[in-house]
Symmetry: C2
Subunit: 429 residues, 2 copies
Amino acid sequence: MTDRRNSSSGATRRGFLGAGLAAVAGSSLASERTRADAAPAAEAAQRTVEPFYGAHQSGVVTPQQAHTYIAAFDLTVDKRDDVIRLMRRWTRAGALLSVGEPVEVPSAKEYSDALDPADIVGLGPSRLTLTFGFGASLFAKDGRDRYGLSSQRPEALVDLPKFPGEQLEPARTGGDLFVQACADNPQVAFHAVRQISGLAYGLAQIRWVQTGFVSDYGAGKTPRNLMGFKDGTGNPRIDDAGEMAKFVWVGDEAQPWMRGGSYIVVRRARMALEHWDRMNIAFQEQTFGRKKMSGAPLGGDNEFDPIDLAKTDANGDPLMPENSHVRLAHEFALQGSKILRRSYSYNDGANVIAERWPPWRQGMEFDAGLIFICYQRDPRSGFIRIFDKLSRFDMMNQFVTNNGGGLFACPAGVAEGEYLGQRLFEAGA
Amino acid sequence: MTDRRNSSSGATRRGFLGAGLAAVAGSSLASERTRADAAPAAEAAQRTVEPFYGAHQSGVVTPQQAHTYIAAFDLTVDKRDDVIRLMRRWTRAGALLSVGEPVEVPSAKEYSDALDPADIVGLGPSRLTLTFGFGASLFAKDGRDRYGLSSQRPEALVDLPKFPGEQLEPARTGGDLFVQACADNPQVAFHAVRQISGLAYGLAQIRWVQTGFVSDYGAGKTPRNLMGFKDGTGNPRIDDAGEMAKFVWVGDEAQPWMRGGSYIVVRRARMALEHWDRMNIAFQEQTFGRKKMSGAPLGGDNEFDPIDLAKTDANGDPLMPENSHVRLAHEFALQGSKILRRSYSYNDGANVIAERWPPWRQGMEFDAGLIFICYQRDPRSGFIRIFDKLSRFDMMNQFVTNNGGGLFACPAGVAEGEYLGQRLFEAGA
């Protein structure tokens, strides 16, 4: 097949730029670029760019985009320099992709050069962000300090404890490296990971991937999850820099490379939707702790009413049930534990499952639910502390099974001229 | 759990209507409905309704929506009356869902009533269409005429032949019943199938499902598939009623119930994207038969230039290679075989695969590609005739593996007061 693959070895290796960007001089395909522009309104949205460089990585306090494509990778190399090579590639790619420019994938021995697939030519950056993270196994795996980085492992990058009820599948869990692409177009998010993965050829391989989406319910509206409830009402505000500094961004407590970074926890939470859909609304509301339509906390009238855990009914029973999701989570907020949630729904088809609850139905069910995602300054006082209790008592557990995800340290943002994680790799030297 | 499930047995069973629709008098949740409206522009798009009733089913010559959710079902009942019961439910649901109204799922013995999940409250109909189809196994399965319908099986509803290279997985193939939901929002499409599936509880069960998406490249622009090529350029025009009557809608050649219907062929075509991305553009163009950026046929300058199979280069070789995808398909068009393509890209994560081509890479690759979908008046002169040759000679085959799908007879549209397929079930009586 070599002849076919090389049948036009003279073809340009840099074929095009994203529509609307400057042409590459001398490209034989420059004249082939899409000429007409997309409709003005859609186009403006597609062209919106989120910054790649900065003190913090994008994709954390960025207003949430409509689609995500997550990928975790395992490194297949032994040398730190090879990891650094990958970080340099990913940094360059991140900067290009975020402005809608194509990324060339450098030669691999067995192949011709790989080219940008061009499937998103005309779609623009669509607010693409790429948020990178490092798993605990980057610092040490099976007791081995693979890249001389173990002294730089942050204390907060713990191994997640085993939580009651979880059914983590190794093929959906963990990874040395992590990237989350978010964009307002699903194809733009996938395209970015496709290029990130191509750049890892021979250095790292995909361990697991996950897509997600969140619908636009209108400006300022809290989106609903697949259970039909508004999800994210009690979130800290991303435009409150003080709250973000306190709860999301890592400070002086950590190694320099991690300051200004954050810890991401991802949990693939499959929902037993067929089961949930057959519960009556009052039961659903008691499980969640909020009214279904308005999102008001039980005992309140409107979505953003304060949560009152003390209110009781005529019998003296709390209006917000003891084991409701919102009550349990809110108790931690009162104690000072806050996390920034940035979850997506997922929809991965259907497969055979045995339910964990009467009538123990077995058969084809939707593999759909929530990609729970949260950022925090320290997972020990954030997700782990909160979820340790929720995983034991939350009434919602009977409808939700966590079967994948991970904890990753997302380093500080990248300055122009730097590569991703540079301060880590230089400190570890 | 019975006590919990029924802990508020007085709760209303009809909790809400889609935002913007009239409230249900007396509903205890009426006051809970979302009050404010979505942003005007997005809202207008969300509120657009495609008709459910009509001479033809919607979703065939409907301008293509951005997202699809497909489901195939196997019937689990023995009596024709039970199938009719399901058809009545689905008809009612289709009419309600298409205007954004909730659908209640009737009681099943073991459960309380199931309610609309409400996850799309506020999103509107988003141009939802539901297109239903009947598989050959509805008419006879393992030689058995299950519902007394075998005399009504159309000649054109053949069993698809085995095509070279295909690797159909039974769990992704076939089914007694078929529905394709299309909408401009992925959650609206999923919501519809979730309700359709809930209504089938105890009557039919999901056999396979499939999501898909197509990006909006701007008004009148041909979308690109994941290989980066414009896909659909040569399609007959959906607004050309003459072409649709000739090539898409079934005429007097069929049983009355099928007249005004169409046959859908679905093929899940996994693309070896990691491999494709490493081919140079000139090779990709020779494989496809079009220029990558402009979509112009080889030998032409612009996307909609006529395809000229006779043009040769200085050596006398055809500019449009003998085994290029477009050439092979165009030869059938010249002979009068036309199909209406309405394909979506799909993106189902990543899994381990062994490639069929040098360097026979094995490992994690994206499970992504094309949900090829076409409609035609007769699959024997449509898809089967065309694909029989393409499956043997198309150069693109080395990058594409068909691993699922099916052929379904989509009956004529439903008139108000009728149920889906009523003329079939009455004729078969």
